[in-house]
Amino acid sequence: MNKVIYLDNAATTPVDRRVLEKMLPFFSEKFANPATKWTSSLSKEVDDYIEEARENIANLLNADVEEIYFTSGGTESDNAAIKGIAWANRDKGSEIISTHIEHEAVLRPLETLARQGFTIKFVPVDSKGFVYPDEVKKLITKHTILISIMHANNEIGSIEAIEEIGKIARENGIYFHTDAVQTVGHVPVDVKAMNIDLLSLSAHKFYGPKGVGALFVRRDTNIAPFMEGGGQERGLRSGTLNSTGIVGLGEAAKIAKAEMAFNEERIRKIRDTLFESIQREIPEVYLNGAEGEKRLSGNLNFVIKGIRSEPLLTTMNERGIVIGGGSACSAGSKEPSHVLRAIAVPDDDLFSGIRMTIGKFNSEDEVMPIVINLKDAVKKLRDLSPFWMKGD
């Protein structure tokens, strides 16, 4: 295969070489289970590395180390946060506020809770995918126990006004959870300044390994454990710690803290050049979501009128250019993107959304080959399409 151009960094990222190197000794040398640290120097050594990783994550989020809990990934973190808060605070109320543009890892647990008798209220988003904090305020009642609103959207990259929403939650004594899977490691996150009580993150979205994530839970939060067992992670998350993954996550966090600003500026430049070229070369293309600072620097989501995205992705892929199909988890489903629907993309265009997400391993040299191939593929598919009547 020729050199591949990978444009699906919001779905998953390759592991940074330094992260993998940090992990390697933990497979076959430092493999002991940290649970037995009191009687085993091997375990104690692993435990020390795990605590170092915890500190790296705490530093990245401006949290305290005791507030970081390791999980198997972003989806588990979301499940643990939302169900854990709901179950533990049921006596206080049964209303939860969220949005329609959340990741499925938030939406499906909310559905489960709805079946258990909780009421889920959805804040509307505008055509750029933004939640207005005042709208959140309007939905609050004395029965509200949790607000869960994502930090940034995985499909259209809109960055929400988390700090203000958190402030509203705090003022009303309501727990505030944010799914920050797309932002941690890419955008500065400060759980103190942003008034966040719970935050989900996932290692493989910022050059760490798959199979590991973390949940930030503010001290003194009333939360029920999600996974029962040996009582690891101070009783909140049982199960043998995935020390290899955790060490990788810690290293990814450390690298992100140091290099994030530089990388994101570069990424933004590549993204902007890419979209300018696409708009120049291909007619009838428009951007979904916001322009400017309130959009993730690596995210590009646009509609190419008259064609469906799936054959376009396959064609591009045949040419070595890897593009994601909306959110990774629903790529296999026939439903159109719930996010594009929520921001009121016209029905005719719902299946024509293309998401390209740039990562730190992309380069400016890749822009031209992307645009040339895209232009050619779009022309071919438009020639084929009954929806594209131009050029008759």
Binding site: G306, I307, R308, E310, P311, T314, T315, E318, G332, K334, E335, P336, D347, D348, L350, F351, L381, D383, L384, S385, P386, F387, W388, D392
Partner: protein, 116 residues
């Protein structure tokens, strides 16, 4: 994973386009807003020309192409019973892709059946 024949026809679809004065036109659009349109020219009960337009997944596109090759010079009587089983002779159909293939078959049959 795409079967080789699907990939070949998807990347190089045959008989693409519209026919100005067709004998018959058949359309089909599914719930997921994928759409296929077949144009056929029939002389003495035999398909002499066939073209199509399609906005669907790679399977739908490849099957339109395969049908267009298959149908040319065949009798309408023979083609009106074209079904999923005929497509299965070309390649193994993944379970979750049946809808995409039905799109192409239905559009084709919508062009053929009125002629019988």
């Amino acid at each position: 994973m795409y079967p080789d024949i699907v990939m070949e026809h998807f990347m190089h679809p045959r008989n693409v386009g519209k026919i100005k004065n067709p004998t018959s036109v058949g359309e089909f659009e599914n719930e997921a807003r994928a759409k296929a349109v077949f144009y056929v020219v029939v002389e003495d009960g035999v398909v002499t020309d066939i073209k199509y337009q399609v906005a669907g997944c790679p399977f739908a596109i490849a099957v339109c192409s395969l049908i267009s090759e298959y149908a040319k010079t065949k009798r309408v009587e023979e083609l009106k019973v074209f079904s999923m089983d005929d497509v299965k002779r070309f390649f193994e159909i993944p379970e979750d892709k049946e809808d995409c293939i039905k799109l192409s078959i239905n559009a084709f049959l919508n062009a053929i059946i009125p002629l019988t």
